[in-house]
Symmetry: C2
Subunit: 340 residues, 2 copies
Amino acid sequence: MSPASVTINDVARAAGVSKSLVSLTLNERPGVKEETRERILQVARELGWTPHPGARGLSLRRAYALGLVLRRSPRTIEVDPFFASFIAGVETVLAERGNVLVLTVVPDRAAEERAYERLAADKRVDGFLLTDLLADDERIPLLERLGSFAVSLGEPLGGSPFPAVTRDYDAGIDELVQHLVGLGHRRIAHVSGDERMLHGRRRRERFETAARAAGIDPLVVPTDFSPEQGAEATKALLDREDRPTAIVYGNDPMAIAGMGVAHERGLDLPADLSITGLDGSQIGSFVYPSLTTLDNDPAGFGLAAATALLRLVEDGEAGDVALPPARLVVRASTAAPSGR
Amino acid sequence: MSPASVTINDVARAAGVSKSLVSLTLNERPGVKEETRERILQVARELGWTPHPGARGLSLRRAYALGLVLRRSPRTIEVDPFFASFIAGVETVLAERGNVLVLTVVPDRAAEERAYERLAADKRVDGFLLTDLLADDERIPLLERLGSFAVSLGEPLGGSPFPAVTRDYDAGIDELVQHLVGLGHRRIAHVSGDERMLHGRRRRERFETAARAAGIDPLVVPTDFSPEQGAEATKALLDREDRPTAIVYGNDPMAIAGMGVAHERGLDLPADLSITGLDGSQIGSFVYPSLTTLDNDPAGFGLAAATALLRLVEDGEAGDVALPPARLVVRASTAAPSGR
DNA sequence: TTGAAAGCGGTACCAG
DNA sequence: CTGGTACCGCTTTCAA
């Protein structure tokens, strides 16, 4: 078994030509007589030959691989519904271009830095997909220094030489706040995510803006995006004199944890408390009451990011991509506040 | 920038030796004079040289990479809390051995097969991590045919030439059923997972055994592990005359969806209905009531599986590994049944 | 239009 | 111990 894998030489020999011609043919380069070309293709097919990306990469200085480094503390590691779909989206474009995804999950910043350095030094990947962008992300200068290519999800505040894939959440947040206000809410709180994370901060800012625009004084409790802190924040909010009648959570896992706290206190949801998430996870439609949130498109992000990165790597073309804006998804967790 | 990466030749030249010696030194092979060895090491350090795994692999016919192919239908793609931790566990062993993880997420069986074939044909990886094992998994013969190495999570029924990493859930399920029986439950249902999946079937069987041992007639509703079907199954169960007082769900996302249904019907949890999961996810402790379940150790699985696979690839040594058995985690979602 | 040969960055074998 | 050389599988001049 395991036929000692056929190489370009086998094909050349079987077709009675030099390997140069096989190479030229394979790469759809001109200068090969049509007849010869077809014979080579034919033989290659018969032999089931497919070029070895490793060997190819050695000549061309390419890895035919893209890198994704995920930093996840043990406490938030399993709560993120974004990545499976994101990676599936990445995969659709990589697969058809003979590329592959190298995934690394690290627990902390030190390990993260080492991961990027090693992957770059070993030329394991041709570029990086940058997710979970921080407001002033150190990975940008790091990757610049390493001479790597990259594409970021979101636009770093500090500026960046790399293309960004962006998606507007502002309009969605406006819609969300207006939805709550329209229902009659006046005391609306926001359990925000990690301030250092770009989307966490951005959403918090926009929430505040939208609230003020509606004549409401925004109440914000910062967290690290973990359900633990989401639950804590909820308790703190519900303990207040002027407890909010609606809470907007920075992500769905926190919203679910917040629901748990509310239920535990015997609140009737959504009458006593309206709750929303901000990133449209699947599980959100199965909790009770089902979660009002913004929609999200992880696969779209993956597809766009991988496409942009490959373009950058292969053609040197940078260029931002804007995804369709987030929209409000109204489900059952929001309603007019009961008299209280 | 991006110093045209230093190679073994640069090191050899700078150290005034041939590259053979550099190679021998690097690989800790004997036959290099201590003095020379140190000089080479010193120079390598100064130049920041690190061997190129690609080039190395070309000689040694190794990819220094392990493959993980995940099949996820769009409907269950984001609900699995297992993988982030699993991959983190894998990473801990790969990182320190200069290996890397190639991850592919595919939507269906055809794409899955293609993924394995391509990864193997292109020699992108040295072996595969097999998760989500089916009772009679076609990937086993496929990978045998491809002449690949692999390690499976769980033991395929059809037999397998590959090492398996196993974990006993039987005792935990017994414990769980006894826990419910001890609380006074007599009508206990199991919303089981995909019958074709090994752990789904195995758990269902053990549930039945344990129930019968307790003198209870087991009631089982099969699903595909998705929260949708978990919710459906719950509705069906709650509609019955002899509705169960406790439901054991095949995984935590379904349990959460089940809770949603129960809440929606105005049931008081856990008094009116006890609910349990079976795979100890983090989010389970933040729903209300917090979820009684079995513990799980995805990172332990990752570590063990990667270790076993590397042993197989590098030393040709196969050998099963047994992880510590699953234990019951009692939280707030189980209690004595109310009179009804 | 084609083939020979050098090179990508390593490893391994063989003389010396 | 050490250096020279062939080779891993593929791409790319350069002559013919």
